[in-house]
Symmetry: C3
Subunit: 272 residues, 3 copies
C-alpha cells in the first residue's frame, strides 16, 4: 500500500488539482499554503453567488465550518450539492461540532444534504457526529489524543459504514476507515497541537489528494494524513526547542519538500 | 508583585483557559497562535447564532473591532452580554476608534451594553474613548508612542475609574491601571510596531490571563503586557537586522517559550 | 528612470501613506505586513457603514476581489467612488476574473463605477478584463507565465488606453503600461508562484507607492513591482532548498529591508 501513497503524492504534483475551499478565516492562509505546498491549487470562494459555480469547475471541494455563519452555511451546502452533481469529491471538517447548537445543526445539515467522500475531525467532533456522548470544548480536541487507536478504529469504521464515506479521526495515531478497511497512521508530532490550523491543513491536504484521485478516497485520505504527520515529525526535528514560530515555518517547508522517497522511508502505517 | 505575574503565567499554562474571540480577519491567525503559545486555547465564533452560546462556555471573551461589520457588531454585543451574565471576563480592543463614525458608535455601544474587565488600546484610541480630542489615523497609533508615561498614567487611571474596569494603554511604556493602582511596563521593542497584529495579540494575551484569573484583571493585564513586551525584546535580540519576517517568527517563538523564570529576570515594572 | 523608482521608495518610507484595503481574508495578513514592510500603513475596513469614510481619509485605496461577497461588493464600489471624489488613487486587483459570473460582473461593475489609477492582474485575468478569450482556472494564472513579454506589452498598452489607467500584468516578466510608455520588470523568482498572496502583495505595494505619489501611477506601479520582484530574488537566494515556509519569511524580510541602493543595484528594467 505504501507505494500507492507515494504514487498519489506524485499524482497531486503532476495534476495540480484545483481545491475549492469554503473555510474559516483563522487558518485559511495556512490551508492555502499547505495546498500549494503539496502541489495543488487552492481557491477560496464563499459567496452564495458563486460557491456552486466554482465548485463545479474544481477537482475537489473542502467544507470547513470553523467560522461558519449565516451567510456561508448556505454557500457550503450549495457548493457541496454542485460538487455532488458532477461527481467531484467533497471533504468535510465539522470543526467544533458539539460546541454550539449552530454547529450541531450545520453539521447535521451538511451530512443530510451533501454526499461526502471524506469526513475528518478530532475524536470529540467525530463522536458528536456519530451521535455518541462527547464533550467539545471550543474547537480543540477535549478528549485525550492518546485514546487508544483501537477505540477510534471501531468508531471510524462504524461511522464510515453509516455515512458511506471515508472517516478520518485525527489524534496521536490517525485513523482512516472506509468501513471495510482501516488504516492507522502512526506518524505524528504532539507539537502539531500547539499550532492553530494543523487540523484544517490536514483536511485541505485530503482535498488535494482526493482531487487527484477521486475514486480512491481511502488511499487519498491516508496519504494526506501521512504527509502532514511526517512533515510534523521532520519540522520538529529541525526546530526542536526553538518555539512555535519556527515550527510553523518548518512545517510549511516540509510539506513543500515532501516527496515519494521521504514518504516511503518514514511512513509508519498499520492496516486492519 | 513580580512573582504574582510569574505565578499567573503558570496558572495560564496549567488551566488552558478557553478564550472566545470575536476579532478581525487581518490578525486573527496571530491572535490564535499567541493564545496557544501562552498556553490557553482560542476559539473564534462570530455568528449571531452561536456567539452567546460560545461565550457562555468560555473562560474569557475578547472583542476586537478591527474589521467590524454589520453582521458581527451584534454578535460582539451578544457575546459580551452572555459573558457578563456568567461573570466571565470581557476584554475589549476598540481598534481604530476615532477613525470612522461606525467605529465610534460601535465602541460607545459596547461600552454602554457590556461590562468590561479590561479595555486595551493605543493612546489615540483610548483618548477617543475617554472623550478627549484625538486624531486616529487608520488603525495605528497617530500620536507619539513616546508620549510620556505619566500623561498616559493619568488618562488610564481616570478612564479606569469612570468605566470601572482596567484600562491598558499600549506604547513604548505600557500603562495598566484599575483606577487605584497603576502599573507601568517598561519592557518593549519598537519593532513590534512594524508588524501588524501585535496590539491585537496583546489583547488576546490579556484574554488568556483574565481567563485564568478573572478576579484579578489588573495583574492579569499587566502580566500579559509583560509577556508580549519581553517576547518582543527577546525576538528582536535573536533576529536583529534580519527583517520583519524573522522577527514575526521569533515573536511567536518567544511567546511559546515564555516562562516564569524569564519573566521574573527580565521584567521592568514600575508601580504607582 | 531607475533613480525615480529609488526616490519613490524613499518617499513611501518618509510619508507612510495610509493604504485602505478592501481585500480577501486569505492573504490579508501578508498584504498588511507587506504594506508595513515597505513603509506604509495599512487599514482594512470593509463594512458599508464605513468603507467610504475610511477611503476618504486614506492616501490610496486597494480593491481586491479575492473573496468578494454580497456584503463587500457594494463596499468596494462605495470606497472607490469616495476615493475618486477626493482624487485619491484606486488600485484594483480583479482576482479570478473569468472564473465565475459573480467575479465577471463585479469586475465589470468596478471598472464602470470607479475610475482606476492602476489595474493589476495575471495574464488570464487581464485578458478577461480586456474582453479577450481567456481561461481562468481558480485564482491562479492558467496561461503560461512565460508568455512572451511583447504579447503582454501590447495587451497592457491597449487596455491602458481603453481604461485610461495604468495596467500591470504580472508574470515571469512584469509588464506595466500607461498606454504611452511600457515598462518591463525582468526581475523575479518562480517560487513567488508557490506561495499564496504574492499577487495580492504586489497590489498592496502598488497602493503604497501610489499613496506616496498619486500623480505618477506608472512609476509607482513599476517601482512596486520592482520591489516585490527583487525581494523575491533575494529571499530565494537566502533560503534556496529550505522550502516554502522559509521563503515566505524571507520574502517579508526582504520587503522590510528594501532600500534605494539595493533597488538601483539589482533592477532589471526595460522600457518601450
Amino acid at each position: 500500500m505504501l507505494n500507492t501513497y507515494a504514487a498519489l503524492l506524485s499524482k497531486v504534483r503532476e495534476q495540480k488539482p484545483l481545491v475549492h475551499h469554503i473555510t474559516n478565516y483563522v487558518t485559511v492562509n495556512d490551508c492555502a499554503n499547505a495546498t500549494l505546498g503539496i502541489g495543488a491549487s487552492p481557491v477560496m470562494a464563499d459567496a452564495i453567488g458563486e460557491a456552486a459555480d466554482i465548485a463545479a469547475i474544481a477537482s475537489s471541494v473542502v467544507l470547513n465550518m470553523g467560522t461558519l455563519n449565516e451567510r456561508t452555511i448556505p454557500s457550503m451546502v450549495a457548493a457541496g450539492k454542485a460538487a455532488n452533481e458532477k461527481g467531484i469529491p467533497v471533504v468535510f471538517d465539522p470543526v467544533g461540532a458539539g460546541a454550539s447548537k449552530l454547529r450541531n445543526e450545520t453539521a447535521a445539515r451538511i451530512l443530510s444534504d451533501v454526499k461526502l467522500s471524506v469526513l475528518r475531525g478530532n475524536i470529540s467532533e467525530i463522536k458528536f457526529v456519530a451521535g455518541q456522548q462527547s464533550e467539545t470544548k471550543g474547537v480543540d480536541a477535549s478528549e485525550s489524543d492518546t485514546a487508544n487507536a483501537s477505540g477510534a478504529g471501531n468508531l471510524a469504521k462504524e461511522l464510515a459504514q453509516k455515512l458511506d464515506c471515508v472517516v478520518v479521526i485525527s489524534g496521536a495515531v490517525d485513523t482512516v476507515s472506509d468501513g471495510k478497511k482501516t488504516v492507522f497512521v502512526e506518524n505524528g508530532q504532539p507539537m502539531l497541537g500547539s499550532l492553530t490550523g494543523t487540523g484544517c491543513m490536514c483536511t485541505s491536504l485530503i482535498g488535494a489528494f482526493c482531487g487527484a484521485m477521486p475514486s480512491e478516497p481511502l488511499a487519498a485520505a491516508a496519504a494526506a494524513m501521512l504527509c502532514m504527520s511526517i512533515a510534523g515529525e521532520l519540522a520538529y526535528g529541525k526546530t526542536e526547542q526553538q518555539g512555535a514560530g519556527s515550527f510553523h515555518m518548518a512545517l510549511h517547508n516540509e510539506i513543500s519538500l515532501m516527496d515519494a522517497g521521504v514518504l516511503e522511508r518514514l511512513a509508519k502505517i498499520r492496516e486492519a
